[in-house]
Symmetry: D2
Amino acid sequence: MENNDVIELLKKDKFILYNGIELLEIGEGEATGRMNITENHLNGLGTVQGGAIFTLADYICAAAANSRGKAAVTLDGQMDYIKAVSKGTLYAHATEVFLRRTIASYHVEVRNEEGALIATLQSKVFRKDV
Amino acid sequence: MENNDVIELLKKDKFILYNGIELLEIGEGEATGRMNITENHLNGLGTVQGGAIFTLADYICAAAANSRGKAAVTLDGQMDYIKAVSKGTLYAHATEVFLRRTIASYHVEVRNEEGALIATLQSKVFRKDV
Amino acid sequence: MENNDVIELLKKDKFILYNGIELLEIGEGEATGRMNITENHLNGLGTVQGGAIFTLADYICAAAANSRGKAAVTLDGQMDYIKAVSKGTLYAHATEVFLRRTIASYHVEVRNEEGALIATLQSKVFRKDV
Amino acid sequence: MENNDVIELLKKDKFILYNGIELLEIGEGEATGRMNITENHLNGLGTVQGGAIFTLADYICAAAANSRGKAAVTLDGQMDYIKAVSKGTLYAHATEVFLRRTIASYHVEVRNEEGALIATLQSKVFRKDV
């Protein structure tokens, strides 16, 4: 898959659009994205819901994984929550841990505007020829 | 915390309401919930987005964890994706793996209407006195 | 692979033999094993070393995974440590969470002689035709 | 705890000594170690057993975690296996992902002599005052 096709597919993701998440950049095995926190992202305590943070991280991971010329399907994701956050913008950056023929792994860091680490995601994908 | 207070708090979760997820039942260390799949839950391939499935599983896990008389904050979540799904209703059921003074762990199974396993979540929480 | 061939292979595992771990039973997608705690399993605090507990759990997981007629190679393992232990016998029991064509997942519980939960392992394997 | 006390404790680990694992260096939130592969580390296929690789990674993680002036008890470990190896020396290097008051997380990379990535470990510890 060409990166343009990947970006095309990623931009058609309705769950992502509906929840206000944006892809900012995509490179070889890496990607960056953003989520401006709104009322709709908050849990009952008024902090950003874990599922919203996961969705941002997982989407940016998928972008990085699909930059490698094969269709990548997420196999798993190990999320660690570090710090609660209630406003501003969250940024996610995904880098590649390893790239094998059928399996690849990515590490994603989610940070706030001050650069504080909010959460990390370690995720493996299954790679299929397209 | 009384279960009524927990349910009150869980029902105020805006991200959950916005994404059409419902808590059906909450017991001692377990909980059940549901998500009726709509267009807004789909990714670019037309299947339910991983973040939507995670959000359902994580929320039901939080319900189970908060049934135990202490405030439970999610520490991590290990999601395994098993089967893609594109329509119908998803059900999540959380059970307790272990309950210690400050840490507890939950196993969540997400199934479709036919009972097929769609994803599993293994998640640990940090328990604080309230 | 026939179960007899699997057992043959599992019994040739030198690291397992060297560390005093035994396979007790192997069924369809499940297995049970044991480790009698000796001085050599202890860490600097005098409790069983995390690596020893992991090795027991991972080996019993491999036994369960290889009972399914394909060669199963471990892809990952998520270990949760619950309770420290310093003497007696540890038992591990592995059950199948899901079985797909190329990926399967197992849940392993490690318990002491009184049945208390010591650790859990959630592990995925890659399945290859033999 | 002073680093000298930590090193003292780590060096008393019998499981580590018995399995030929060495701590090479310990810094602030990081550590390095080594395992010279012998017959006793091999599984039935003649490659290094997953439990042996985990034990190396987990021990070096514990060294890094205990360099921070509090007693660190391992909470969990997520191991990803990347490449099989059957001889030579394995090196593990642990770095800190985050350090909170009661929880910290470490990323460990296990490499062979040529620097090829063999496995990664993502592990969280619980930190107690001593």
